[in-house]
């Protein structure tokens, strides 16, 4: 039975410059090596961010996606949201008002998927639809 790693919530530091970003990444990177990592970064404390901070966020997202996981942001301040919009990175992340909301979003059960071995028109429903369409 497939299992999912627990959701990891981490609070970003007040200043996300080169030094802080590197230090933060050192803590986070091992967790990103898990299978399907689920990470929430709480941005509520951020007051200052530079290029290293933005790059770190993009790097973490890339690492998470490589392992079929995701990285979500929570409590993004209006100022940081403006910066993210300006830099066009806002659309890359799912953003939530609180870390709890972000965690909950990981826990939502996805609808069961079945492997499709036959073309859609071979199923009884597909044939019905085809007849109805004339």
């Amino acid at each position: 039975m497939p299992t999912r790693a627990p959701v990891i919530v981490m609070e970003l530091p007040e200043r996300l410059n080169h030094v802080e970003a590197k230090s933060f990444l050192n803590e986070l990177e091992p967790l990103l090596q898990n299978d399907r990592p689920s990470v929430v970064l709480d941005c509520s404390q951020i007051k200052h961010m530079d290029s290293a901070g933005v790059e770190m966020l993009l790097y973490c997202l890339e690492q998470a996606m490589k392992r079929d996981g995701d990285l979500k942001l929570a409590a993004v301040s209006p100022a940081s949201a403006v910066i993210m919009e300006l830099m066009r990175i806002d659309r890359l992340f799912e953003v939530f008002e609180t870390a709890e909301d972000a965690v909950r979003s990981f826990q939502l059960v996805a609808p069961p998927t079945t492997l499709q071995t036959q073309p859609w028109y071979a199923t009884p429903q597909g044939l019905t639809d085809l007849k109805a369409a004339g």
């Binding site: 961010m49 530079d50 290029s51 209006p78 100022a79 940081s80 910066i83 830099m87 066009r88």
Partner: protein
């Protein structure tokens, strides 16, 4: 009988609505965003001050005195038209200077004058207002619109100089005094949101005053020396200012205005925004619902001001040599941003590494 008509326009005064609680500056208001009085900021080629001057001159006002506080003296915008009957005076205190100016008018047989704050833009029939004042036979006539009192009066020059002008004008706004109701377009320029509204009203032709420059195709105005790359897209209505450049694959859309000496770099989207004079916006950015000036960005949707230190993202650009003319002093190129502490100010260093 000869009736002289003058005008005194004050720069730097707040309008009546805001002056009552002027100690409470709204967070991230115009003071924190721009160091220039908003009425001196060019929108679609001309400042609100110049547009008001145009209206005064058009009705035959003989003399216009623009009074500017010393702290704002270097920020009078360059006027596009040269006016022989417009004088700019740098003063320490506005009200005593206004009183003095009215005294000069009176000596020169100018019997009535419009007194206004430059941040109140009114498209009323000023001659009708003057006739209303004369028929009322009062010392002063105040004006108001559906939102309340306006910083525009007509005064009898001889009588207005007798006492304290501030009290004189204030008393005129009280009940009982004749008031002139203005149904036409009004903009009280209090914060950057009003600046943006003024831009959209000009571009959408909600108000009478229009953009400068030539209309290259319906709804797209371009000023002299403006350059738009053939792969850039300008969606009407829009304004591209003097000597501004819009580079390849850039998109300017939804009532956006790019003022003079600006540069919108490749791939950048300017949507529902005003880029004020001498601003360079970097490559592949999304600037939406904002007013940008130099390295400062006021997002109107989120009501927050962001300061960007990285010159690759946003910066002041140098003005072209012909930007200023003889009548006014160049405003924006002399702006030095204050180091103010703002609660929501961000600094973004070296955001793009090339």
């Amino acid at each position: 009988m000869f009736v002289g008509l003058g005008a005194v326009v004050a720069i730097g005064g707040k309008n009546q609505e805001s002056s009552q609680d002027s100690s409470e500056l709204p967070e991230g208001g115009d003071e924190s965003f721009l160091d220039v009085p908003l009425e001196c900021v060019e929108i679609a080629g001309r400042s609100m001050l110049e547009r008001m001057l145009e209206r005064l001159v058009a009705i035959g006002v003989e003399r216009v005195s623009i009074l500017v506080e010393a702290k704002n003296s270097a920020r009078i915008p360059p006027f596009r038209t040269s006016y022989s009957n417009v004088a700019v005076r740098v003063v320490r205190d506005l009200y005593p200077a206004m009183t003095q100016e009215l005294a000069h008018f009176s000596q020169d047989e100018i019997s009535h004058a419009f007194v206004s704050s430059a941040n109140t833009y009114v498209e009323a029939d000023l001659l009708d207002l003057f006739c209303f004042h004369r028929e009322a036979r009062r010392d002063v006539t105040s004006t108001f619109d559906k939102e309340g009192s306006l910083d525009l009066w007509v005064v009898d020059c001889a009588r207005a100089q007798r006492g304290d002008l501030e009290t004189f004008l204030h008393d005129a706004s009280q009940d009982g005094a004749p008031k002139y109701f203005i149904r036409d377009y009004v903009n009280r320029l209090v914060d950057p949101r009003d600046l943006r509204r003024f831009a959209t009203d000009i571009l959408s032709r909600t108000c009478e005053t229009g953009p400068s420059g030539q209309q290259m195709r319906p709804g797209v105005w371009m000023d002299d020396k403006a350059e738009v790359h053939r792969r850039a897209r300008i969606v009407a209505p829009a304004y591209i200012g003097y000597a501004s450049k819009v580079k390849a694959d850039a998109l300017v859309t939804r009532l956006s205005n790019i003022e003079r000496d600006c540069c919108v770099d490749s791939g950048t989207v300017i949507e529902d925004s005003s880029i004020l004079a001498n601003t360079t916006v970097g490559i592949c950015l999304d600037l939406c619902h904002a007013v940008a000036s130099g390295n400062k960005l006021r997002n109107l949707e989120r009501d927050v001001t962001v300061e960007i230190v990285d010159p690759n993202v946003m910066r002041f650009s140098s003005p072209s040599s012909k930007a200023a003319n003889s009548n006014g002093r160049s405003a924006v190129d002399e702006v030095v941003l204050r180091k103010t502490q703002m609660p929501e100010t961000w600094q973004l260093n070296n955001l793009i590494q090339e």
